[in-house]
């Protein structure tokens, strides 16, 4: 799942260094912002055929790969 999330991040952030980040690295420090996080959420929803609740969508929940994994696992 981590590699799949990284692939999605690579396509959205257009950053090849994504493969080197850890699961705890702050994504908002490497280019994620309030605009492209929407693309991230939609891409993840499509990939895993899930729909996040409003409280899951809060910006702080998308801070790092670890948190994103947690959100996905809650849903699948």
């Amino acid at each position: 799942m981590v590699e799949e999330i990284k692939e999605i991040l690579k396509s959205i952030l257009d950053n090849e260094n994504i493969s080197q980040i850890t699961e705890e690295d702050n994504l908002y420090n490497i280019g994620l912002d309030s605009l492209n996080v929407i693309k991230l959420i939609i891409s993840i929803e499509k990939k895993y055929n899930i729909t996040f609740d409003d409280e899951d969508i809060e910006l702080k929940n998308w801070k790092n790969i670890n948190r994103i994994k947690g959100l996905i696992n809650k849903k699948i």
Binding site: D33, S34, L35, I38, I41, I42, E45, D54, I57, L59
Partner: protein, 374 residues
């Protein structure tokens, strides 16, 4: 030199006709007539700019109410002027009736609210004549009442969505649109309702829960502080009334709303309609004209209390530039030094942008990309 002679030379007589229509001071109608009689007028330019600035019904009304002006219209346009105005009157009537229906239910559920902007201003400062352009109804509620408000909307058969202009129907928000709205914690996502009307099939409604906006760098005004002073105001149908902010708080809200559109990155988006326009400045100017005596006394106190001098003074200085008014002088704000230049804005990421030209240039421009300074 005649007033606005420089503007006629720089922007054309059409632009000044829009300014004078918006300003509507004594003798402004005579000035419009004088301009038409002494210049070649591009009527297509007037229509195009008026649509972009959301003042086409106002232009139409100005020409209808004055016979001499009406007779200056070319024959291909004069009947459309009547139709456009009448359609606007019709739409406003629908919105007002829907507002009454909604506010009754809000009150039944003991939800405090304040109607804002057009639904109030149309009667208060635009004479209840049906010429102020209104796209939807706007209300302010407390954040803690959000779910109660949504329940009331659902009870009245409103659904979350926006108008699809090609189908003239309500369409659901796309997932992307919905998520954007979840992020905008200061407002409830748009709700709308399809109605039985031969022309206007969808009515949209907006609920705001703050005076400011996401990423606003200025202090917010707690809604409960403003709501203490709420008043009831006639809406212009029979003797029915709805609750709204008192004049000072409503004026502040109108100004902050304009400032948001000037500074929240809309300028650098491609949607020109979201940037500031003449209609918003007209609200600010005309509201001042109608309520000057009260505002001169009360406005500075509230501005100082919440330290919101910058957005208020920026907006009023620009209003003075557009309409040749003296609001800043009357408020004795002449000496206040703005942090941000009058001719600046910000992009969507919050970077400061300096523009070539002043606010009139910005309003007049049809290609804003040309205004970015190198």
């Amino acid at each position: 030199m005649d007033e606005f002679e420089n503007e006629i030379k720089k922007y054309g007589p059409e632009w000044v006709i829009l300014l004078l229509t918006s300003r509507n001071n004594d003798n402004d109608t005579d000035k419009i007539l004088n301009i038409i009689n002494n210049n070649k007028i591009d009527w297509g330019e007037i229509i195009e700019q008026a649509i972009g600035h959301k003042i086409l019904p106002m232009i139409c009304y100005t020409f209808i109410k004055n016979k001499e002006l009406y007779e200056t219209l070319p024959p291909w346009i004069n009947q459309y002027v009547r139709w456009i105005y009448d359609m606007n009157v019709h739409k406003i009537s629908i919105l007002k009736n829907k507002a009454i229906e909604l506010t009754k239910q809000l009150e039944n559920h003991e939800i405090e609210y304040a109607a804002t902007k057009g639904i109030v201003l149309e009667n208060q400062i635009y004479d209840n004549k049906g010429y102020r352009y209104m796209s939807d109804m706007d209300f302010m509620v407390k954040p803690e009442d959000k779910s109660k408000v949504i329940n009331v909307l659902k009870e009245l058969n409103y659904k979350m969505g926006r108008i699809d202009w090609t189908e003239n129907k309500l369409r659901e928000l796309t997932r992307e649109e919905y998520i954007k709205r979840v992020f905008e914690t200061n407002k409830i996502p748009e709700y709308g309702i399809e109605i039985e009307d031969p022309i206007f099939k969808v009515i949209n409604i907006g609920f705001i829960m703050t005076f400011t906006w996401k990423q606003c760098e200025y202090n917010d005004i707690p809604i409960e502080n403003a709501f203490i002073y709420n008043i009831s105001r006639k809406i212009g149908i029979d003797n029915l009334e709805i609750k709204c902010l008192n004049d000072v708080y409503h004026y502040i809200y109108i100004i902050l709303h304009l400032y948001k559109h000037a500074w929240a990155g809309y300028f650098s988006s491609q949607k020109k309609r979201s940037d500031v326009n003449l209609s918003r400045f007209t609200d600010v100017y005309r509201f001042w004209k109608e309520n000057k005596n009260q505002l001169v006394t009360e406005l500075p106190k509230i501005i100082e209390k919440y330290h919101i001098e910058e957005p208020i003074i920026w907006t009023l200085k620009n209003t003075d530039k557009i309409f040749n008014s003296n609001i800043i002088k009357d408020l004795k704000f002449d000496e206040f030094k703005l942090t941000y230049d009058l001719n600046s804005t910000k992009d969507r990421k919050g970077n400061l942008i300096k523009l070539k030209g002043d606010i009139v240039e910005r309003l007049y421009s049809k290609n804003r990309a040309e205004l970015f300074e190198e």
